[in-house]
């Protein structure tokens, strides 16, 4: 089985968020970047397929050279080979088109992408990718087994879970549940040393549709002062007259 895991390079969740260029660009100054958590769950599941079923695991990222440390970490965790598509990601459609271009002739049986990245939370890439590639698609996937050419996946749905079977090749929109947080791998020294020698191939982007343009980012308004009261009547009055929520 040949697996491709799509890795998005995202700010660490503790990063302080600021914008530059008239609030049209994310300010990366002083920001630590990490593997998108939803992708990391998928990568860790892919490592399980590698260890238990002899799968080959490639990773792909759309980004400039600044994403390579994140890719090296994925290689140190155990991925066999990396593909960097040398373009700054703009929107989900653009990213999906770039990924589809490297996946289409790669002979992959399984493509695992995170359900969404935790930076822009678009949630579009896996679905568009499946459509462009003409592959089966399971989103919000919380469990995945593969037996021969058939995958059995569990997806999260409103109020429950849905168990589905699909033939490979298949695109997965993965999330926590594929593995648990305690299963996430810390790169060990052997992995870091081996990652030095693994191929990280850079391919140039194809002309792709840029369907959207970021016109402005805004941060939520800062939280106001908290007003404490001991009186239920006053609380009701404040919620009704001042906060106007009841």
């Amino acid at each position: 089985m040949k697996i491709l895991v799509c890795i998005s390079n995202v700010p660490d969740t503790t990063s302080k968020i600021n914008f530059t260029d008239g609030d049209t660009k994310f300010d990366t100054n002083g920001v630590q970047f990490v593997i998108n958590p939803n992708d990391e769950f998928g990568l860790t599941r892919a490592m399980w397929f590698k260890e238990k079923q002899g799968a080959t695991v490639h990773i792909a990222t759309v980004g400039d050279a600044s994403v390579e440390p994140t890719m090296r970490k994925a290689l140190a965790i155990g991925a066999d080979e990396g593909i960097r598509i040398n373009a700054v990601p703009t929107d989900g459609f653009f990213v999906a088109e770039q990924l589809a271009n490297v996946i289409k002739d790669g002979g992959y049986d399984l493509v695992i992408a995170g359900r969404e990245s935790i930076d822009y939370n678009g949630g579009m890439v896996p679905g568009i990718l499946a459509s462009l590639l003409g592959m089966n698609f399971v989103n919000t996937c919380i469990s995945l087994e593969v037996d021969g050419s058939t995958a059995t996946a569990v997806r999260e749905i409103d109020g429950g879970k849905e168990k589905v079977q699909a033939e490979l090749p298949l695109v997965i929109g993965g999330q926590k549940g594929l593995v648990e947080e305690s299963d996430l791998k810390i790169p060990n020294m052997r992995g870091i040393m081996m990652a030095r020698k693994k191929a990280l191939n850079v391919v140039e982007p194809v002309d792709a549709t840029k369907a959207t343009v970021d016109s402005k980012f805004e941060k939520p308004a800062p939280k106001g002062a908290v007003k404490l009261t001991d009186s239920v009547d006053e609380l009701v009055s404040l919620l009704h007259n001042e906060a106007k929520v009841i």
């Binding site: 503790t14 440390p69 090296r72 970490k73 140190a76 810390i186 020294m189 052997r190 870091i192 030095r196």
Partner: protein, 392 residues
């Protein structure tokens, strides 16, 4: 114990000076400490027990001999990577870092640097994987700052050496499989010998009731007519310079480790000061607390730059013993002072095991003493700049 929400301060964007691999190594060690050390370390320190279950993990993150070449089982990393690993481990606990320091700098380093090819092949890969654990015997009951006066000695017994004497304050001794021991031959020349656990007449009683490094096992090494095979003598260097060379390597690592302890205390105190409200505002709003925090981050930043530059010099093979003394002395003293100040900022909470500060503070009382005391390192600097040693 509170969940480990540590965020590393980097006031001067020192990360920009690190390579991608440095950061990968550092972040892996940091993540491992958060997952495997922080949740259990307070409990082990309170019980005064060494957490043996973390040895595999220490080996996995490369804490044992990271700069030893790959052919001997090491990771072949540079000195800055070694420093960063020590920093992260000591951020968790100085006792755990001590175990890693001893294994790397005081056991693997002398075998790699002074050992025969057979000794390197026999011991280094197993030490790197943690299959064998080692300790280092230099200090004696009557000889601490003056190791050259050691009384442990060995004589030629024909097909073996006969070793007699005792060593004290030995980290890892109670569970170590091997000990690199420094002793004088019949001519009074200091040599290194590899002593193995099962050699007759060799015992390692544990030192109990420490108020410091409680999660680290400390003990003695006692040699009562121990027959040591001749092939266990380290052949390639003798004299006091040999063990001092090991100490240079360990002290360099300690200079980074102390930064880790200081960062943890600072980060804890900063977070606490922003949350703890007195007189209607967070205590971080008060000038006296800001002074403490501002001085802490200033001192941490200076220490980071000192160790980073020392790491560059080590990588180039140019770091002198005196330069290493300066960094060890400065950084451990810095960390100890920050631990004490941070402890005060937390008030009563600072003395409890809910926070790591008092454990760091007590640990650092050992770190400021071992591997050359605070005073001796000052005199090394003094001797270096004046050309006049004041201690002999």
């Amino acid at each position: 114990m509170k969940p480990d929400s540590f965020e590393a301060p980097d006031y001067y964007n020192l990360d920009d000076l690190l390579s991608d691999e440095h950061k990968l190594v550092r972040d892996a060690a940091r993540q491992w400490v958060k997952r495997e050390v922080s949740p259990i370390i307070e409990d082990y320190a309170q019980k005064a027990e060494f957490p043996h279950q973390i040895l595999n993990g220490l080996a996995e993150i490369g804490a044992f001999g990271p700069y030893i070449p790959e052919e001997y089982g090491g990771a072949g990393l540079d000195q800055i990577s070694y420093g960063l690993i020590m920093q992260e481990i000591e951020r968790g606990d100085s006792g755990v870092r001590s175990t890693a320091s001893v294994q790397s700098s005081l056991v693997m380093y002398p075998i790699y640097t002074y050992g025969s090819e057979e000794q390197k092949k026999k011991f280094l890969p197993k030490l790197a994987s943690g299959e064998l654990m080692g300790c280092f015997g230099l200090t004696e009951p009557n000889h601490g700052s003056n190791p050259g006066g050691m009384e442990t000695k060995f004589k030629d017994g024909g097909d073996h050496y006969l070793l007699n004497g005792a060593k004290l304050w030995i980290s890892n001794s109670p569970f170590a499989d091997i000990a690199v021991v420094w002793a004088k031959n019949e001519e009074g020349r200091i040599h290194g010998l590899i002593i193995e656990r099962d050699m007759e007449g060799f015992s390692t009683p544990e030192t109990h009731n420490k108020w410091s490094l409680r999660a680290s096992a400390t003990g003695e090494l006692i040699f009562d007519n121990v027959k040591v095979p001749k092939e266990n003598l380290l052949p390639n260097k003798s004299g006091l310079g040999a063990p001092l060379g090991c100490l240079d390597s360990a002290r360099y690592g300690i200079s980074w480790g102390a930064i880790g302890a200081a960062m943890d205390c600072y980060d804890t105190a900063l977070r606490y000061a922003k949350e703890r409200v007195q007189f209607g505002k967070p205590i971080a709003a008060f000038q006296l607390q800001q002074k403490k925090l501002a001085e802490m981050i200033t001192e941490i930043t200076k220490a980071q730059l000192l160790s980073f530059r020392l790491g560059q010099l080590k990588n180039e093979g140019k770091a002198t013993s005196a330069q290493i003394s300066m960094a060890k002395r400065n950084n451990v003293d810095m960390a100890l002072k920050i631990a004490r100040e941070a402890r005060q900022m937390l008030g009563g909470m600072g003395i409890t095991g809910e926070y790591s500060i008092m454990r760091h503070m007590m640990n650092l009382e050992s770190v400021v003493t071992y591997e050359g005391t605070h005073d001796i390192h000052l005199l090394i600097t003094g001797a270096d700049i004046t050309g006049i040693p004041a201690f002999n």
